[in-house]
């Protein structure tokens, strides 16, 4: 799909998806207890690491499009990877600590 030629219908569909996803995000997060707010912060952080997919799309074909694009691809993919990998690993590390069942020693 060439992005700059998005059809109005695709735009509208994206708008519906946006509104519904915002509701889902709001509802889901408002059920998270305070004690999990820090993992929530880092978990949500990991989720937006999906931007690495966008950066990969910049990388695709970059070799034939000159050095500027290659540099952008390098920066974008590096940053995106830091976000996604670091985010999930750190969240998992935090949550592992919560795994103990109540009453365990």
């Amino acid at each position: 799909m060439d992005a700059s030629s998005i059809s109005p219908f695709a735009l509208l569909a994206a708008l519906f998806i946006l509104v519904l996803a915002a509701f889902v995000g709001y509802e889901v997060v408002s059920k998270v207890p305070t004690m999990l707010h820090t993992p929530l912060m880092s978990g949500a952080n990991a989720v937006h690491g999906v931007i690495v997919v966008g950066a990969m799309l910049v990388a695709a074909g970059a070799v034939s499009e000159g050095p500027l694009r290659i540099i952008l691809a390098l920066i974008g993919v590096t940053l995106g990877t830091v976000n996604v990998v670091g985010g999930f690993v750190v969240t998992d590390r935090m949550l592992e600590m919560f795994r103990k069942r109540p009453g365990d020693r």
Partner: protein, 471 residues
């Protein structure tokens, strides 16, 4: 829109599956029992969409060395950072990861802009929704990048933690805002100019710094949560630009969840977001920790006496605060709990929603030290129980037990506090006469029920442990 190929249809389905994974990652955080599974589901969704994009995008594998280098470096940084960060430095770590995401979103927006303007016939304009989303992704991503770096610096002590107001703070901020709006409108509606777009990104980077510098180090967790939400919005905007629903949904989810989390945090501190961002309130631990506190005589107690009081009590409530995090005292605290429980003393932890410097800070630390989470009671639940407690043991908490909050006129007025003063005896562990985050004195310390045990919390708790052993 032309007919879709089978590959494209499958791509949509991959996005959908990944999105469900992301939703479940957040949803399963509703309980500590399911939270970790949720995070793994989110990671699985992520792996799926990354692998799919890698294998099915035209021209992707030609750039294999870019992906290898950048992906390799990113993975190494991410894993090493995430594995080695101490729990107390968690907010900084999240800030860095968040800034990286924001930066990536800005880069993607910029690259899209460059690609599309290069195909453009001269004089022609990119479609308005497309260019607006591109500009949004670039500006919000850039602000998030530099803002997160400043937040990291303040928490890490690389930049002064106190609020740093620029000479003409308000004017500079306003000018930056207006310039961004003006350039944005011009680029969108009149000329898709590359130099102007670059200037736009640079100004946004500056704005990120200018916005976060005047905020105190201790307010950084709120700022990070807000910037997290911003990155989400930037990612959603680029998802819109790329017509990629995985990005769109993930970004929107995070945008919404970051916004409500920020709101919950400010509400628990009884402040408004405006106050956090613009009032220069939080001054950061160390800066003002010593000096304030007045001249009253404070009653002291020895570790052994304190240990006896607890060992022969029926119920002890432990109130941890920021000081426990600074001293890294959670391990000894858990030992203390085990010993007291073994002696038949009922031990519970009173967790104030904003104790420490990030939401759930105490929970994470105590979980790290293997304290079972059913011993951690939230404020509403435990407040009625202080009256039955023989000893309330305060470990490096201050503002969250400050009775001034019940009166008018102090910076924490109206914040709900833990009713520590209803216990029979209160024992407070702190290093000296330092104030807490809000920088105000705490009359509880001169209350006749209260005895102080001065010193760093870690050795103090260790002394309590050996005291209880001998009691």
């Amino acid at each position: 829109m032309p007919e879709l190929t089978a590959l494209q249809i499958l791509t949509f389905l991959v996005w959908l599956v990944a999105s469900v994974g992301f939703i479940l990652a957040l949803k399963f955080l509703a309980s500590p029992k399911t939270a970790r599974t949720g995070n793994l589901l989110g990671a699985a969704g992520m792996a799926l969409v990354i692998a799919w994009t890698l294998l099915t995008t035209e021209g992707m594998l030609d750039s294999w060395w870019i992906l290898l280098i950048a992906g390799g470096v990113g993975t190494v940084i991410g894993v090493i950072g995430a594995r080695n960060v101490p729990m107390t430095a968690m907010p900084q770590m999240v800030a860095i990861f968040n800034g990286a995401g924001g930066g990536a979103a800005a880069v993607v927006a910029l690259a899209e802009f460059l690609r599309d303007t290069s195909h453009q016939a001269s004089g022609e304009l990119l479609s308005l929704p497309f260019i607006i989303a591109t500009l949004l992704g670039a500006v919000i991503g850039s602000v998030s990048l530099t803002g997160s770096i400043v937040a990291w610096g303040k928490l890490q002590g690389v930049i002064a933690a106190r609020p740093v107001k620029l000479p003409a703070q308000q004017i500079i901020t306003s000018v930056l805002f207006l310039a961004l709006i003006a350039i944005g409108v011009y680029v969108a509606a009149f000329a898709n100019s590359v130099p102007l777009f670059l200037l736009y990104c640079v100004l946004a980077l500056v704005l990120g710094v200018v916005l976060v510098m005047p905020i105190g180090g201790a307010d950084m967790p709120v700022v990070i949560s807000l910037l997290n939400s911003y990155t989400g919005i930037a990612v959603a905007a680029t998802g819109f630009v790329l017509n990629n629903y995985a990005l769109l949904i993930a970004g929107t989810l995070v945008g919404a969840s970051g916004a409500i989390l920020t709101q919950l945090m400010t509400k628990a501190m009884n402040r408004s977001l405006f106050n956090v961002l613009f009032a220069g309130f939080g001054t950061g631990g160390e800066a003002t920790t010593h000096g304030a506190g007045g001249e009253e005589q404070l009653k002291e107690i020895s570790a052994d006496d304190a240990a006896v009081l607890m060992a022969y009590g029926k119920k002890v409530i432990i109130v941890p605060g920021y000081g426990m995090a600074v001293a890294q005292a959670q391990g000894p605290v858990r030992e203390l709990m085990d010993l007291l429980l073994a002696k038949g003393v009922d031990v519970e932890f009173a967790i104030h929603p904003v104790a420490g410097r990030m939401p759930g800070h105490m929970n994470v630390l105590l979980a790290e030290a293997n304290v079972p989470y059913d011993r951690l009671k939230e404020m509403d639940e435990i407040n009625a129980e202080f009256a039955d407690a023989d000893v309330a043991l305060v470990i490096g908490a201050n503002d969250v037990i400050n009775p001034l909050a019940r009166e008018e006129g102090s910076p924490i007025s109206g914040m709900p506090i833990l009713n520590v003063d209803q216990a029979q005896r209160v024992i407070v562990l702190k290093r000296g006469r330092g104030t807490g985050f809000a920088g105000i004195p705490n009359p509880l310390f001169s209350n006749e029920k209260t005895s102080m045990l001065f010193g760093d919390a870690k050795p103090s708790v260790a002394a309590l442990v050996s005291g209880v052993k001998n009691a």
